[in-house]
């Protein structure tokens, strides 16, 4: 492909401007879903086109890009996206969280704390937290407008009634800035806490559903729960990363079918590599 055949960052400037406007609106109304005209991309819907469009709209030649998929820099999807962005921008890439300025991610937030210079772009499959209770898009929007969120709590209540506890795993609904209930994309509960009062900017893009939303820095983000069933993290006690020895991080579980043993290693591969390298010194 000849880079000259395409605009910088693939999208035309008009598209980028529209998406940026949607992003700005999203930032001014934390947690509120803003519709946008989702463009055609060489990647199919369901493969991260929402997050990708945000990245392409905000990336500049001096940015440093990191892309992860469930914490991993090396997965096929992460590599594909990195290659694509690189070819139409020439922007520097990294696996080092601290060095990056834009981090596009599917379903995880990096272990290392993000700062003022970071923008984390999350790929979102289903932006509507009320979808499973209210199928009508129009009615759901009216509910958001009226702060009518009994349906969101009902979802959790029903789980408690059926299973004795909240079973919502990834994508736990949160209340943003005390106003909008948001679906934070399927990040584990562990990562949900990282959204609250963060130093960085979080942007969420759903390409198939054509919605963008945002959590600006230092915004309150509180998981929904009940007085007698408070929000609980996943249980990571007694787990140790077999590569770098880290504890109290989010783990991938690896099951060895030959020996029958379970092993744990850091989900965030970049963090793991850094940690292991630091320990060897």
């Amino acid at each position: 492909m000849n880079e000259n055949d395409y605009n910088f960052a693939f999208l035309d400037e008009g598209s980028k401007r529209e998406i940026r406007r949607a992003i700005i609106k999203a930032i001014t109304i934390p947690g509120c879903q803003i519709p946008f005209g989702s463009r055609e991309l060489p990647i199919g819907r369901g493969w991260g086109t929402g997050g990708l469009q945000i990245t392409l709209s905000i990336i500049g030649p001096d940015d440093i890009l990191k892309v992860i998929d469930q914490g991993n820099d090396d997965s096929v999807n992460a590599i594909s996206i990195k290659k694509f962005v690189s070819r139409c921008t020439g922007v520097e890439q990294t696996t080092d969280t601290q060095k990056a300025t834009i981090i596009q991610s599917r379903h995880r937030i990096p272990e290392e704390k993000l700062g003022e210079n970071h923008v984390l772009v999350l790929q979102v499959p289903n932006p509507e937290p009320l979808r499973s209770v209210e199928r009508s898009v129009l009615k759901a929007r009216q509910m958001h407008g009226d702060t009518e969120y009994s349906a969101a709590w009902l979802l959790l209540y029903e789980q408690i009634v059926r299973y004795g506890k909240i079973t919502m795993g990834a994508g736990y609904p949160v209340l943003v800035d005390g106003r909008y209930v948001m679906a934070p994309s399927p990040i584990p509960r562990y990562d949900t806490l990282g959204l609250d009062d963060a130093d960085c900017l979080y942007l969420f893009g759903a390409g198939r559903e054509k919605m963008i939303y945002a959590v600006p820095p230092h915004t309150s983000v509180v998981p929904l729960d009940f007085d007698d069933f408070p929000f609980e993290l996943e249980n990571v006690e007694e787990r140790v990363c077999r590569i770098c020895g880290a504890e109290n991080v989010y783990f991938d579980e690896i099951f060895d079918s030959e020996t029958g043993e379970r092993h744990y290693q850091c989900s965030d591969s970049g963090f793991c590599a850094k940690n292991a390298a630091a320990k060897q010194i």
């Binding site: 209770v133 009216q142 407008g145 009226d146 702060t147 009518e148 009994s150 349906a151 709590w153 009902l154 209540y157 029903e158 408690i160 009634v161 059926r162 009940f226 007085d227 007698d228 069933f229």
Partner: protein, 276 residues
């Protein structure tokens, strides 16, 4: 003797409307305006609901009675008119003039509605307890154990056994679904309960049971109820006072015993003489 709700000149018009049909003294073809062809489903209805009484609204299909209920529950937006609830700002604010957010709050806390079709009032795939709990959650409750107790209590009161509280209404019979709706509607002890043809289509014995439960609940909670039915027998059984609707207007209004024994309007007389 306190006034709980007041409705003033409520109209629901489908279509443009014109000067002719806007004047409620002008006759229409049934409820359709001969000039602009608008359907005037509800024409300038005014009524009051008092403390601890059951008001019956009787009329045939197309009389506008269900449209009236839907307007009062904010399911549809009236073309004109106002309504006041004693429990909302002392009856000083027209509930149709406030924001949709405020209307939701009124709906969640001050009104209960039971629809003729349970699908409109219940989430069929959620447990019956969950359905009732949603109303409690909407009123701000956040303690699961307390909500579970209250929902079980409400459902038990409607004679739904404890071992079915976790089942979705999809599995229930029609009468049972209506009882779940009633439990949900009264969960927050609203001052006003709206019942729209709640026993229509149910078997007679089931109908009787549901009506008995409604009567019991009304007496215990001192709720004011508006009962809509095309069936005069239901009205006779439940309501103290009755309003007769025809083509969107109230044609007669009085004590139920008077409506039944000394009907004045020709339509009321027709209805009464049609009682099986």
């Amino acid at each position: 003797m306190d006034q709980i709700m007041k409705v003033n000149e409520l109209s629901v018009v489908y279509g443009k409307g014109c000067d002719y049909c806007r004047d409620s003294n002008n006759p229409l073809e049934k409820n359709r305006c001969p000039h602009c062809m608008a359907v005037c489903a509800v024409r300038d209805i005014s009524l009051e609901l008092y403390d601890s009484e059951i008001l019956g609204v009787v009329g045939e299909s197309g009389s506008g009675k269900t449209t009236l209920m839907k307007a009062l529950y904010f399911d549809i937006i009236p073309t004109k008119g106002s309504a006041y609830l004693a429990a909302y700002n002392n009856g000083e604010t027209d509930i149709f003039s406030v924001s949709s957010q405020q209307q939701r709050a009124i709906r969640n806390n001050l009104l209960g509605m039971v629809y003729q079709n349970p699908v409109m009032g219940l989430l069929m795939n959620y447990s019956s307890g969950g359905n009732v709990a949603q109303k409690l959650i909407a009123a701000g409750h956040r303690n699961v154990a307390a909500m579970q107790e209250r929902t079980a209590q409400l459902l038990d009161h409607m004679e739904i056994p404890l071992n079915r509280v976790k089942e979705p209404p999809r599995n229930f019979s029609g009468g049972m679904q209506q009882r779940v709706q009633i439990s949900k509607a009264i969960a927050n002890n609203p001052p006003v309960l709206l019942l729209d043809e709640v026993t229509t289509g149910l078997d007679l014995s089931v109908q009787a049971k549901v009506l008995d439960l409604i009567r019991m609940v009304q007496k215990q909670l001192n709720i004011s109820v508006i009962v809509v039915s095309h069936d005069l027998a239901v009205i006779r059984m439940l309501s103290d006072r009755t309003v007769v609707m025809l083509d969107g207007q109230i044609v007669e209004h009085g004590f139920t015993d008077q409506i039944l024994e000394d009907p004045q309007h020709w339509f009321t007389q027709t209805l009464v003489h049609s009682l099986i």
